[in-house]
């Protein structure tokens, strides 16, 4: 009765949501105490994160178990699709806030500080008359509290390589999907493995780039608005890549265990969507943060 609406699967009462809530609660308290300068907070934060991981493992184990038992009708599958789609939209909007900050700084606030336009005259005239607008903004209006940097990461070096890595991982994950749809299990696992590998290689390159920026270029989070937007955008993106690659890894392990069928594999598709989203955000970063 897989397509009968009467059989919509309603899960039994579950303890995972409340465990998840407590996990986040503990993590937030830990992080806050840590930021307020107490080492004890780090400890609490660690416990919280461990709880978060425990919750994810337990919750997903339940869901996978239910799925393997065949409890999920096509209708449940569609619910998951809507859920994942709208979740990705919310992630897009999260990045939109930081892209908005970047555009605002580049198009409006930095030129204003440099004296352009009616809105800019006062700050320029009265606060920092000698400030000259430029992008990348290597010398800030008041450099005293910020790191003045010598150079920025050039777009057509490592970032271009990274673009290639991510774009090809988008292709490999699609090949994996095609293989799955043809029930070609070894193809599925190989292409997925390649995707995971590309993903983590990207992360490694990104880590190397950060190392270079911090140690050889003087470009840090403290480098004024350029450093702020640069690290915030690439940092959150990198974090999402790590999450996405970990999810792909889980899918790879499940594929090796023989989960999924040609027709029924939403977990795979959801993760693939997520991966494409991470990919698209990177293109935005490459163009607007590194290149232009």
């Amino acid at each position: 009765m897989s397509d009968s609406q009467g059989a919509y699967f309603i899960p039994e009462p579950s303890r995972w949501p409340i465990v998840g809530t407590l996990a986040l609660f503990v993590s937030f308290i830990g992080a806050a105490v840590m930021l307020n300068g107490s080492g004890f907070g780090t400890f609490i934060f660690g416990i919280g994160i461990a709880m978060v991981i425990y919750m994810f493992a337990g919750w997903f184990a339940d869901v996978i178990g239910e799925s393997l038992k065949g409890l999920y009708s096509d209708q449940v599958d569609v619910s998951f699709r809507w859920g994942m789609g709208w979740f990705i939209l919310s992630e897009v909007m999260f990045f939109a806030a930081f892209f908005g900050a970047l555009f605002y700084a580049r198009v409006l606030s930095v030129p204003w500080l440099g004296g352009e336009g009616a809105g800019g005259i006062a700050t320029h005239e009265f606060l920092w008359p000698s400030f000259e607008a430029s992008w990348p903004l290597d010398v800030m209006p008041d450099p005293a509290n910020f790191m003045v940097f010598e150079e920025v990461i050039p777009a057509f070096g490592l970032p271009a390589v990274n673009t290639l890595l991510l774009l090809s991982s988008g292709v490999t994950v699609t090949f994996a999907h095609w293989a799955l749809k043809k029930d070609n299990r070894s193809g599925l696992c190989c292409w997925l493995f390649a995707t995971v590998l590309l993903g983590f290689t990207f992360v490694a390159c990104q880590a190397y780039e950060y190392y270079e920026a911090y140690h050889h270029m003087g470009l840090t989070l403290r480098s004024g608005i350029y450093g702020s937007t640069f690290f915030m955008l690439t940092g959150f993106h990198g974090f999402h890549v790590i999450m996405g690659a970990t999810m792909l890894l889980v899918i790879l392990i499940r594929s090796m265990k023989g989960h999924f069928s040609e027709k029924h594999h939403f977990a795979f598709e959801g993760v693939a969507w997520y991966w494409h989203f991470v990919d698209v955000v990177w293109l935005g970063l490459f163009i607007f943060v590194y290149w232009l």
């Binding site: 699967f9 309603i10 937030f28 809507w82 605002y104 500080l113 800030m140 509290n145 989070l221 915030m232």
Partner: protein
């Protein structure tokens, strides 16, 4: 397929109900979760209300009487945050949880476990927020809008404030995703989109607004966090950033947020008015389109909160005209509600009274909003009590009245008992008189120049403040009547029929009162006649 709800085990659903604390902690039931949301919202309504009483007590007379200015500012800040994120939004989601599955003919929400988590986050997030009162440096006092650089001076409370906002945001986004998935995917056969009750429609649109705007708030407060602790320069002009940038990002969330709050209330009164006018809703389709256009436009008006920060002239003009244009779809809605009542055979039970209250008093707030939307005149009104009067008119008799009306409307369905009509009417009339005594004088104060968020004032403002405070105390106390009515109704009373109200139409009224634990285990067939009125 034993765990799946199917026709066979429909009848012993009541027996499957888990018991004790586990029923609530581990719940995957939309009604139980809805109830928890509503109870939580009611508690927060009184917590936030207590803070409002402190504010009105201090403003009763000029001079500093009871609290020091820092604490006063904490009161205004936390009052707003508690009311918006702790009372109004949870109340809306609670009603959605209870009613949407019943209205669309579904057994439950699409993702019941996630539903549980979106509720349980709330008490913990509220704990993070309220615990700040006991921290070094006191609770946040820079205003609910959290503008830098002022908010960066918050003491130890600062990261707790930020994380509370993140936490609440996670809850709202999960709730919104769940509602969309439920409506898109769980409708009974025949329940096409254009047959959905308007409450469901307004909630789809609200959920969309939530998903699109809450993450932006999360981004904004994250930037505050890194500016304070990691040396970034987003809102620091010395590093090339701009404090005004925060205002842009915040209000990009903030204006859609006001519609997130008000649209469910619009939905509720769109259910109530046809019921008691015993006529179908006038202009159903135009209602849907008007709601959608309000939501769409709400993303392009944010800078009407920033007319005085020194935007370029084109910006001022654009946001003025965009703001004015929202009046058009809003006018359509007001017109339709009025036309629904035209020549209806009306009766005025408590829910109807509250709905008509919304219609009248939301409009007052809408008009003052239009006034402030005119850039040059807003230079006078901005940051005065005029704006306080404006948003309290749209929020208290515009949103809270909608929610309370909904509670009276559906209480018999939820509990199986009729509430005490006399007490309900008493509640309405005392609230309505006092809310106007409370907020109407604030228009005069604002026009005369009294600034908001200040514990002391010039003696020329004394009379109206005293009157306003008296209205405030009466309004605050009269809400206890609501609690009493609810308790009384839960404990017993005249039995309600399934249909409850003579003019009630829609699937939720075909279920028993109180309804079975899982609403529709077998999807009903929806025909034209059984759809919304």
């Amino acid at each position: 397929m034993s765990e799946a709800v199917s026709h066979e085990d429909h009848h012993d659903d009541h027996d499957h109900k888990p018991t004790g604390i586990k029923r609530w902690l581990f719940s995957t039931n939309h009604k139980d979760i809805g109830t928890m949301y509503l109870v939580f919202a009611l508690i927060m309504f009184f917590v936030g209300g207590a803070m409002a009483m402190v504010i009105r007590a201090e403003l009763f007379q000029p001079g500093l009487q009871y609290v020091d200015p820092q604490f006063f500012n904490s009161m205004t800040t936390v009052h707003a945050l508690v009311m918006i994120f702790g009372a109004l939004m949870p109340a809306g989601v609670g009603l959605a949880n209870w009613m949407i599955p019943m209205m669309i003919g579904a057994p439950d929400m699409a993702m019941p476990r996630m539903n549980n988590m979106s509720f349980w986050i709330l008490p913990f997030a509220a704990t993070l927020l309220i615990a700040t009162f006991f921290m070094e440096g006191g609770a946040p006092a820079g205003g609910w809008t959290m503008y830098p650089p002022l908010v960066l001076q918050t003491g130890d409370a600062f990261p707790f404030l930020i994380f509370a906002v993140h936490f609440l945001g996670i809850s709202s986004i999960m709730g919104a995703i769940n509602i969309i998935a439920t409506v898109f995917n769980m409708r009974a056969p025949g329940m096409t989109f254009m047959k959905l009750p308007l409450f469901v429609w307004t909630w789809i649109i609200t959920a969309f607004l939530l998903i699109a705007s809450m993450p932006v708030l999360a981004g904004a407060v994250t930037m505050l966090l890194t500016d304070k602790f990691f040396g970034t320069a987003f809102f620091n002009a010395a590093g090339g950033g701009d404090p005004v940038l925060f205002q842009h990002v915040f209000w990009f969330f903030g204006h859609p947020e006001v519609y997130i709050l008000v649209l469910p209330s619009f939905g509720i009164i769109s259910q109530i008015i046809p019921t008691f006018a015993r006529k179908p809703l006038f202009g159903y389709e135009s209602m849907v389109y008007a709601t959608a256009s309000i939501a769409f436009l709400s993303f392009f008006v944010w800078a009407h909160h920033m007319f005085t920060v020194g935007m370029p002239l084109t910006g001022e003009l654009f946001f003025m005209y965009a703001t004015m244009s929202i009046a058009v779809p809003t006018g359509v809605k007001i017109f339709n509600w009025t036309a629904t009542m035209w020549k209806g055979s009306m009766t005025f039970e408590t829910p109807m009274l509250f709905a008509i209250g919304v219609l009248f008093m939301f409009s007052i707030g809408g008009f003052s909003g239009l006034m402030m939307g005119i850039t040059p005149v807003d230079f006078q009104y901005h940051d005065t009590y005029f704006i306080v009067a404006h948003f309290h008119y749209v929020i208290v008799p515009g949103i809270i009245y909608g929610v309370i009306g909904g509670v009276y409307f559906w209480l018999p369905k939820w509990t199986g008992n009729m509430y005490d009509e006399k007490l309900g009417k008493l509640h309405f009339w005392i609230s309505t008189i006092s809310v106007n005594v409370l907020f109407f004088p604030q228009h005069f104060l604002g026009l005369a120049g009294m600034p908001r968020r200040i514990p002391d004032y010039n003696i020329q403002f004394a009379e109206w403040n005293m009157i306003s405070s008296i209205g405030g105390f009466v309004f605050g106390l009269s809400q206890l009547i609501l609690v009493w009515v609810v308790i009384k109704c839960v404990r017993g009373g005249e039995k309600a029929t399934d249909q409850v109200w003579e003019g009630a139409q829609g699937l939720e009224w075909t279920l028993s009162s109180p309804p079975p634990f899982h609403s529709f285990t077998v999807p009903p067939q929806v025909t034209d006649a059984s759809a919304h009125s």
